[in-house]
Symmetry: C2
Subunit: 213 residues, 2 copies
Amino acid sequence: MGNSVTNQSASEGKRALSKAANRQAILEAARGVFARLGVDSTTVRDIIRETDLAAGTFYNYFKSKDDVFEALANESTTRFRPRLAEVRAKATDFESYIRAAYRAYFEFLRDENIAAIESGAPHMALIGVRIDTPEMQSVVEEIRADLESHFSPGDTQGVDTEYVTAAAVGIAREMGDYMLKRRPVDVDGATEFASGLFLTGMESFGMRVRTTP
Amino acid sequence: MGNSVTNQSASEGKRALSKAANRQAILEAARGVFARLGVDSTTVRDIIRETDLAAGTFYNYFKSKDDVFEALANESTTRFRPRLAEVRAKATDFESYIRAAYRAYFEFLRDENIAAIESGAPHMALIGVRIDTPEMQSVVEEIRADLESHFSPGDTQGVDTEYVTAAAVGIAREMGDYMLKRRPVDVDGATEFASGLFLTGMESFGMRVRTTP
DNA sequence: GCGAAAGTTGACGGGGCGTCACGAATGGGG
DNA sequence: CCCCATTCGTGACGCCCCGTCAACTTTCGC
């Protein structure tokens, strides 16, 4: 008992600890309220009410309701990033990268929305995706770099890598939305279709891709 | 002077006339304010202030700021519909439909945003597109029907027309956004790329498409 | 332990929202 | 031509949410 230093089991001071806890509490409360009421009609007070904090405290952590929403979106994007990194690491060629990337995205979408899917929620499928946050734009930039790295100099004749990226991302986004509306959620089918379409399509620009049928 | 009936030059009563004028005034004011302040931070009062109407009058025409935004979006969608109909009427086969449809969409996007493009506006490129209004969903459904009408029974083996539609639309949306960010706005390049990718891609599902190189 | 710094609290002024009672404009009927 | 029912415009009002801030509590360094 006589030790003047703080309890060893706590690696951080009480200060930082409660700060993290409060931030997390707000985020979790917001996630629930957004799902229940929809983002537009929730108020800062709705969020803080599901917490044991006071109204003013909210503004020590976030600037506004939309700031919280963006944080949730970034959190979600952050969860996707390692999956994409794994895909990049394991890919041996263009085809395997594309297939794995589409699968990773569609699986991610399903996983993120599994709660909403299982309980037929009306609002907010798709939190954290679709929104054009800077974080998401940076993921798109990663994908562009990945795609470019698979273009051999002979292939890339006049192909605009940003158009390629936009098309690949567009297919994923729109098909992803659609996939989530169907029961059962068909990750395999979506992956197969998106990959087949995109890989074959790229051949029209002189890219040599062997598509496994 | 002596005629008891109303003035013949006015085909409508003053009532209906001013109603239409007021509605239009609100829409035009809203378009300007949305462009200047961004949709999120404009208020109903901001809109009505640019009008010679009173605050309460706004609610005789629209339920909320978002209702106005949706109306503007629908208006825009309505302008696109005849272009798509023309494409449908003139198309002789799958390829010509796809090429013309992508071109129509990219030209439409450029035309709708020409003001914003020429004056480097910060907010709101893209009013009326991207937003998932019921009106827009109905256009997507039109496109789905168009695509399906070009699938011959031999082709359509196991091809999910809704996946096809989603992919085609996704390519258009994402590439369209990207096209608008570039100067000069490159409708030809975007059309060429989107059409080539999609048409060739469809061949991987057994569809017989002759792509002109 | 003690003083300073950091964090929390809830009440408050400000402002946008949507409504409503009132008055003006319209147009059909006599 | 006039009158009255109906429709529409008006702006003040009450409501609620926002973001702030001075007072209070907790934590930290010494």
